[in-house]
């Protein structure tokens, strides 16, 4: 639901879609293939400020808001809202995002390497 239009992140829409996607057959395939837990911190304007944490659990096939509570996620990413959208939609590849400093990564590098644009479903356009 849109509570207040000013507090909305673009990433919220993608995360919602991801949640639905993981319940589909293709989503279940993805879970089987990747089998990792990512935490994604999304900041409206600046990395590190007013971050909203999402857990994309590709072990259980779930997306939830808030920090991961099942231990340590395999990799944690930090983005600005805009940049997360760019990466998830394939407009910017994750390596480039990292080079630019648009993506901050903590955790296992091999886990981070599996974080690619194809894991997110693409929104269709009206």
């Amino acid at each position: 639901m849109v509570e207040s239009s000013s507090k909305q992140l673009k990433s919220d829409a993608l995360m919602d879609q991801m949640k639905l996607h993981l319940a589909s057959d293709a989503g279940k395939e993805l879970t089987k293939k990747i089998n990792l837990v990512y935490q994604i911190n999304i900041a409206p304007k600046k990395i590190g400020f007013d971050e909203v944490a999402y857990v994309v659990d590709l072990k259980k096939g779930e997306v939830s808001k808030g920090s991961y509570e099942g231990g340590k996620p395999d990799a944690t990413f930090s983005f600005k809202d805009e940049d997360f959208v760019k990466v998830a939609l394939g407009k910017m590849n994750p390596q480039i995002a990292f080079m630019r400093g648009a993506m901050k990564i903590k955790g296992s590098l091999s886990a981070a390497q599996k974080f690619t644009p194809d894991i997110f479903p693409k929104p269709s356009k009206m």
Binding site: S24, A26, M92, G101, D118, P121, S124
Partner: protein
């Protein structure tokens, strides 16, 4: 101007009885670039000081204070050359020169202003010129020996040859000079050898320092006591005088402190830079060798970038995998860390190392710039500089912020270490080196694309370069006709010709916007629709189209504003709107109003359409689907409505239904690029990548400018393991793709 004369070897600086290389900075410059360019250096104008230079020296005492004192006080053995230089005012300086020349004829330039040093230097001077006459590079006054020696170090670096210690005559370097050389050479070496190991770099530097009888460790890393206290005071002052810029200044200080504590080199760099901010000499050579970009506030981010990439390059270079060693990515990092590539305004730019022939021009440019920088930094007063930094940050906003922020917040070193450790453990998979390498190519491509697209992203309409419809007697009519026939890209050209002729024609812009939306280009659609709305602020179709496009772009606040505008300007439903609502829109209020409107006239398809868009915005897909289905009963031949239904179904993961709806839309309008692209998305989201590729290619064949489809195609190609086609995708070669993926 005395400083310039020092460099150019002007009259006031010449030491009688010696050649032009008696000027230490000029000599060093000559040594570094070869003697052939001596004449060119002399071409630098020596008579007319620029206004910035004048400021720099005239205000010297007032504004250099903090930095100067810290330098002089904390470094009693420091370079007298510099001390004398700074303590003098503008007029005094040249007078002092004259004095000294009269009384101390064979004075080596370093000794100026210091009585105690002179006898010793004279002795060294004599000895240096007398000993080892058989060795040309070690011949002459100390500064010439020094510059030849440093020159050979630079040469060996360029060739990648290990540098060997050379016995040198005693050069009489002061502690300050030694420290300067020590700091700078360690930094320079790291830039020269960014792709070599730390051990190699240390060996090179140690060979250099050993020859010069400089202790490689003492104080090489740590700040001199007192200096940073002064500098911090200085910064605190500037913050106090500038309340509104306090945040930016804070960040700078934080960044600075972090650099200081975390990075030995950066520390030395900052410190030597501080020491030399006005005087040029080494500093400008260093700049020239590393980055020819100007030394302004925003550029601090480039140092950060260089520093970061250097560390990354270092860690990555320790990976023995030859594939990785040869990767373009590593070369890229290495280049970037040497300053041959810089990131400016979020674009990668190459800063070709200047050929020696261009040196003089480069030098002059550099000279002006660095003095301008010093000027900003010091002479104009701290607040102005901070101001500038702040405004620059505000102007460039997110772009410049990126690197600066990253540097202060990202704990780059942790990352580099982490990266290095994991690379060492073989965490990178077989093909990941290739991934990184190809990322570099893509990065550059993306920069070009980003540049071309940057206007649209700012909401400006971007016209096609070549337009055959310019000069057409009635391009609007032609455009409408082409649009009706479904020739979208042609219609776009005709309509562009129309709006070029009549910039205020709402219908031309509106149809142009629709054509772009159907061509799957929302950025251009939004830009055109904004112009249509300017021309006709209450046009309902325009308001709806803007609401839809912003919803597609996930821009919720903007979408809500336009959808609300649709209701407000509707002749029938406008009465539902209470005026106080328009300031702060809440989704729930707007949705309630539309539901009221739908109850008022349940047979108005348009209300149901807007309601459907609104539910998409709140991601209540079931309600959205119901609204569109209601509307379709009233308007079964509206192809864009079928596409809206399909997109909504696809976003709520009902892909099979979505494909049926898209098919309906395409039956009604075969050239509907958006529906073709949406088909591709639906197949891709179901993991049917090969099918998706065929649809994307089909969409692109109709509109090669649909960037989204190109991006999605690339993803699908990788997922379908068709990396053999990535090159065709990257070069946008539709012939190959169409042949390979027929629909």
């Amino acid at each position: 101007m005395a400083m310039r004369e020092l460099v150019t070897g002007g009259a006031a600086c010449a030491v009688p009885g010696s050649s032009s290389s008696s000027n230490p900075l000029g000599a060093l410059a000559n040594a570094l670039i070869g003697s052939s360019s001596k004449e060119k250096i002399k071409e630098i104008p020596t008579s007319v000081p620029t206004s910035s230079e004048r400021h720099f020296f005239a205000d010297n005492d007032d504004h250099l204070g903090a930095l100067d004192r810290s330098f002089v006080e904390s470094n009693d053995q420091g370079s007298d050359f510099l001390r004398g230089f700074r303590s003098a005012g503008q007029g005094e300086l040249s007078a002092a020169w004259d004095d000294i020349q009269r009384s101390q004829a064979p004075l080596p330039p370093q000794g100026r202003g210091s009585q105690t040093l002179i006898p010793e230097l004279d002795r060294i001077y004599d000895r240096a010129s007398l000993t080892r006459p058989q060795q040309p590079i070690l011949d002459g006054p100390p500064q010439r020996v020094l510059s030849s020696f440093l020159h050979s170090f630079v040469d060996s670096s360029r060739g990648g040859v290990p540098f060997r210690p050379i016995p040198l005559p005693i050069l009489g370097l002061s502690e300050g000079d030694k420290q300067c050389i020590r700091d700078r050479s360690s930094i320079m070496a790291r830039h020269f050898f960014a792709d070599k190991s730390e051990d190699f770099i240390n060996a090179q530097v140690n060979a250099l320092l050993c020859s010069l009888d400089i202790d490689g460790d003492v104080r090489a890393k740590g700040p001199l006591p007192g200096r940073f206290r002064e500098l911090e005071d200085y910064w605190n002052e500037s913050q106090d005088s500038l309340k509104h810029g306090a945040h930016a200044a804070d960040e700078w200080v934080a960044e600075f402190n972090q650099q200081r504590t975390e990075h030995g080199d950066a520390d030395a760099w900052a410190h030597s830079f501080e020491q030399q901010h006005g005087a040029i000499g080494w500093a400008s050579e260093f700049e020239q060798l590393t980055s020819v970009d100007h030394m302004r506030g925003a550029n601090i981010s480039n140092f950060a970038a260089m520093e970061q990439t250097r560390m990354l390059a270092n860690t990555l270079a320790q990976n023995d995998d030859p594939k990785f060693q040869n990767s373009k990515f590593l070369q890229f990092l290495s280049k970037m860390s040497r300053g041959e590539l810089i990131i400016d305004d979020n674009q990668v730019k190459e800063t070709a190392l200047p050929a020696s022939g261009d040196w003089a021009a480069e030098y002059r440019q550099q000279y002006n710039r660095s003095s301008a920088w010093a000027d900003e930094f010091v002479s104009h007063g701290s607040d102005q500089w901070v101001n500038e930094f702040t405004t620059e940050q505000e102007q460039h906003g997110p772009v410049d912020d990126q690197w600066v922020n990253e540097f202060s917040k990202l704990h780059v070193q942790d990352w580099a270490e982490e990266f290095g450790r994991q690379v060492g453990e073989g965490a990178l998979e077989e093909d990941s080196a290739d991934n990184w390498a190809s990322a570099y190519d893509e990065y550059l491509n993306e920069q070009v694309a980003a540049k071309n697209r940057s206007d649209t992203s700012r909401g400006l309409y971007v016209f096609s370069d070549m337009n055959p419809y310019v000069g057409h007697p009635n391009p609007l009519k032609e455009g409408q006709e082409l649009f009706r026939k479904g020739l979208l890209s042609e219609a776009v050209l005709a309509l562009e010709a129309e709006v070029l002729k009549n910039p205020d024609i709402a219908e031309g812009w509106r149809l142009l916007g629709i054509a772009h939306a159907e061509n799957d280009d929302d950025q251009q659609a939004i830009a055109a629709m904004m112009r249509a709305q300017e021309a006709d602020p209450t046009n309902l179709e325009v308001l709806l189209a803007l609401g839809v496009s912003h919803t597609n772009e996930l821009e919720q606040a903007a979408a809500l504003k336009y959808l609300y505008g649709w209701l407000r300007h509707h002749p029938k439903y406008g009465t539902l709107v209470s005026p106080e609502l328009s300031d702060s829109l809440y989704y729930a209020d707007v949705a309630r109003l539309f539901n009221e409107a739908a109850q008022m006239s349940p047979d108005d398809a348009d209300v149901h359409i807007v309601l459907g868009v609104l539910y998409n915005l709140s991601r209540e897909y079931d309600k959205a689907i119901a609204s569109f289905q209601t509307a379709l009963k009233l308007k079964p031949h509206d192809y864009s409505l079928w596409n809206k239904l399909g997109a909504t179904q696809a976003n709520s993961v009902q892909s099979a239904d979505a494909i049926l709806a898209y098919q309906k839309a395409l039956d009604l309008k075969p050239n509907y690029v958006r529906a073709w692209a949406n088909m591709g998305i639906s197949y891709a989201n179901q993991g049917m990548y090969v099918d998706s590729i065929c649809y994307y290619v089909r969409a692109l064949a109709m509109n090669p400018k649909a960037d989204n489809a190109w991006q999605y195609l690339r993803i699908s190609l990788s997922c379908a393991s068709r990396n053999d086609m990535l090159e065709a995708c990257d070069s946008r070669n539709l012939d190959i793709l169409q042949k390979e993926f027929p629909l």
